[in-house]
């Protein structure tokens, strides 16, 4: 059975472990073996923790043998984005400045997942401090898209999306500040969700932009994403922005999978010029599908969404320039140039100059500019007003529709290197996802086919109101079920097998 374990869903694995059909240890070993077989090509992981995973798996097996109750994810492996602090695995955030850092405390999300019986496999690659859309900003090199190893897996949670799409893990956790879960999920052909801001705890998530950062799930099916969403979420006294309310019933919604009578709003401003034709055609078909399933499709206009991207690239860098001031070379991480003659301030500047990569420096500089006296009102202040207008647009749209839909990304996965030194081109990857970060509402991406022009995955974004997370799972599950029926298989069944000769040849010809 071992050979097939990596192809099972999280729901199937949890059921098989609970029923005693397979041990958690066998499941963990199968996934560690898969990582060993393919990750030299995918490069999803920065750190693989076989000892931690096998110890956790043995603990689950011992609980079961003793007749003790098992958690909802007992024995299910999960890949952890390297932005979550883990007391038994290094946490680098893809940065030289934290190379080799072993945190003294555990994040709330990973603590909860361990409590639910999930098996941490290791830490996944990411754009440095979650700033980027491709993992090319990782100090440790880019991860690869399992659909085409010459292309990016998206970002910043690109190690997590690649690990799930390559069947190295059934589940992964990421963080979404401007689209960093939904965009990599879309371009890797998997499901990724950004919960309502405050629905999942930021405690132990190394901060990028605190008013936007949102932990969330990545998985191969909508139900698996909902199971992970539910297990990782909920009120946390350690995060002052955590919402003290029950987690929306996302698992029940994913099982309901029905859109009859639901009003679905197509956002006029998220489409048209600048979008890849193959993305727009698959999106149009998804809207037709929703209509055929009984949804009432309406068009809604959100005129200020056009200003969401520029507002985001003022707000996020401003918050980042403040948050990353903590990397001063004094208490943890790298220290450079401390030769006994230099002052603390000089050592601080040298450490940050050496420890941060190009994109992090760009954003710190941009944020410092936007917050400096003389520019504050014209840039940061104005961006905060745009944020209000984007929220008003959402409020008006959600009066006409129960959920909103759009393409998750303007294009499919781009080639590694194509946008690496063109920041504005890179920033456009998050065009469709940013409005929901500014407004704090829930949103996810679910696969809706392959673009006819390049054969690469396209994501359908479903947006729901604040704390209406369950609605987006209902819609996504209905779309997924209808498409799997139409195709006769899940989308990932069309991905080139990483162990096949074809993939090897493909990889070799790209080098």
């Amino acid at each position: 059975m071992t050979a097939d374990l990596t192809s099972l869903t999280a729901a199937e694995l949890a059921a098989a472990v609970a029923a005693g059909e397979v041990s958690a240890t066998e499941v963990a070993r199968a996934h560690l073996d898969k990582i060993a077989a393919v990750d030299d090509r995918v490069r999803a992981f920065l750190h693989v923790s076989a000892d931690v995973a096998l110890a956790a798996a043995r603990a689950v097996d011992a609980r079961r043998a003793a007749g003790e109750p098992l958690g909802p994810l007992a024995g299910v492996p999960v890949a952890v984005k390297d932005v979550y602090t883990t007391a038994d695995m290094p946490t680098t955030c893809g940065s030289r400045i934290l190379d080799g850092w072993l945190p003294p405390y555990e994040s709330t999300v990973t603590r909860r997942l361990r409590g639910a019986g999930a098996i941490p496999l290791g830490k996944t690659n990411m754009d440095e401090f979650a700033m980027g859309s491709s993992t090319e900003n990782s100090a440790f090199g880019p991860s690869r898209n399992p659909w085409d190893l010459a292309r990016v897996p998206g970002g910043s949670s690109g190690g997590s999306s690649a690990a799930v799409a390559a069947f190295e893990a059934p589940l992964a956790i990421g963080t979404d500040t401007g689209g960093s879960i939904r965009q990599p999920a879309a371009v890797c052909g998997i499901v990724g969700a950004k919960p309502t801001y405050g629905g999942s705890s930021r405690y132990g998530v190394v901060a990028f932009a605190s008013s936007l950062d949102t932990p969330g799930p990545l998985a191969r099916t909508v139900l698996d994403a909902a199971l992970l969403h539910e297990a990782m979420s909920g009120h946390d006294p350690c995060d002052s922005t955590s919402i003290d309310a029950p987690v929306p019933p996302v698992v029940a919604a994913a099982r309901q999978a029905d859109v009859a009578g639901l009003r679905v709003g197509v956002v006029t401003e998220l489409g048209g010029e600048g979008y890849q034709p193959g993305v727009l055609s698959r999106f149009g078909e998804a809207v037709e599908l929703l209509e055929s399933l009984g949804a009432k499709v309406v068009e809604v206009s959100c005129p200020h969404f056009a200003y969401a991207l520029p507002a985001y690239y003022l707000i996020a860098p401003s918050e980042c320039s403040s948050n990353l001031a903590r990397f001063d070379g004094m208490r943890y991480g790298l220290r450079a140039g401390d030769d006994g003659t230099r002052s603390a301030e000089e050592v601080m500047s040298l450490t940050r100059g050496e420890g941060f990569g190009a994109e992090v420096k760009r954003r710190i500089m941009l944020g410092t500019y936007a917050l400096s006296s003389g520019y504050y009102d014209a840039y940061y202040g104005k961006a905060q007003q745009v944020r209000t207008l984007v929220i008003h647009d959402f409020e008006a749209a959600f009066e006409q529709a129960d959920v909103l839909v759009s393409p998750a990304t303007p294009t499919t996965a781009f080639r590694i290197g194509e946008r690496a030194d063109d920041p504005m081109a890179m920033y456009l990857a998050d065009l469709c996802t940013i409005p929901s970060n500014l407004a704090g509402n829930a949103a996810l991406s679910v696969p809706c086919g392959l673009a006819p022009d390049d054969g690469l995955p396209v994501g359908l974004q479903v947006m729901a109101p604040v704390l209406g997370d369950d609605r987006m799972y209902r819609v996504a599950a209905a779309v997924e079920a209808a498409l799997v029926t139409r195709w006769g298989h899940p989308l990932l069944a069309q991905a080139p097998g990483l162990t096949s000769a074809a993939a090897e040849a493909r990889s070799a010809s790209d080098d």
Binding site: P104, P310, V347, K382
Partner: protein, 98 residues
Amino acid sequence: MSSITREEVAHLAHLARLSLADSELDHLSAQLDVIIAAVARVQEVAAEGIPPTSHAVPLTNVFRPDETTPCLSAEAALAGAPAVEDQRFRVPRILAED
């Protein structure tokens, strides 16, 4: 017209405590110029009388019960430090020589 000069970029780097090589300054100046011109589009929006939003979800002050809970030991807090002396963080001098 360029929106930011190389001198301004060097000043920002000092404010942000980022030591940058000359080549980095040149490259960043050109890129920041393009990015600032692009994000300045927010100024096109008529936002007269529109309140700013700092957080999407309204914030209220949060209290917890006034009870002691476990915290990091000195060893744990110092474990990742670049330099330690006598159970403390050792840092370079913080005052100028003269």
